[in-house]
Amino acid sequence: MSESEITCKDLVELVTDYLDDRMPAEQRLRFEEHIAFCSPCAVYLEQMRQTISVTGALREEDLDQESRDAMLSVFKDFWR
């Protein structure tokens, strides 16, 4: 078991591969097996998910009116 066992130190470097689903199935299995008994690593994984979530919330779709008008004017000028 020990040869392929993932330690916590290994795991924190593998989190992005895991979340991007870029891990061989065998490694994914060992990753999840570790998470199943290691509460700090489970919290770390959740913190990474939450970090991604918080970053994503920085995205605002609304354009300010001035910018919007300026962009539309490109169209108006082009088609005059």
Partner: protein, 169 residues
């Protein structure tokens, strides 16, 4: 049809995907070709129970199941049969105590340290990941006593659970 077991979070929620299982008797289908750890319904043979503990243990029926390594069973669809109610906080505590008691005291410092750590982890243990942690730490303590101790300890732990939970397969 294959019968296997599944640990779920409270409310029949899958631990890693967060998928909501329907109530017992209703089929849950997966998309596409089942792939280990990626897609499909995953369930456990009794040999794998020590590794995946959560709050709820269920018996599950699977269609077109394949048994993979490490006690994992993979299928395209499955349905919960019933809850294994014998798996509860009290049994989790007994399990933890049994795991520790089964590892001999003494031996090299690392073995002793690990055994003590298992005892510390036992405090406040309930049905869930913490019980899995006790089992893991105890198996690692055994591993420090004899070569191959980890695997044989896990086998013993799985057998203990099978017996106490009254599992058939």
């Amino acid at each position: 049809m294959t019968v296997a077991y599944k640990f779920l979070r409270p409310g029949r929620v899958a631990a890693f995907t967060g998928a909501q299982w329907p109530e017992a008797g209703r089929w849950l289908d997966s998309d596409g070709q089942p792939q280990l750890c990626r897609s499909g319904i995953h369930a456990l043979k009794p040999s794998a129970l020590p590794m995946w503990m959560t709050e709820e243990l269920w018996r599950v029926e699977l269609e077109d199941a394949q048994e993979l390594e490490r006690g994992i069973v993979l299928a395209r669809r499955g349905r919960l049969i019933d809850r294994v109610t014998a798996w509860n906080d009290d049994l989790a505590r007994e399990y933890g105590e049994a795991c520790i008691a089964h590892v001999p005291e003494g031996g090299p410092p690392i073995a002793q340290q690990r055994r003590a750590d298992a005892l510390a982890e036992l405090a406040g243990v309930r049905a869930g990941g913490q019980a899995a942690a006790v089992g893991y730490i105890a198996a690692k303590a055994a591993d420090a006593l004899t070569a191959g101790g980890y695997d044989s300890e896990r086998q013993w732990q799985a057998a203990w659970l099978s017996d106490r939970l009254g599992l058939s397969c």
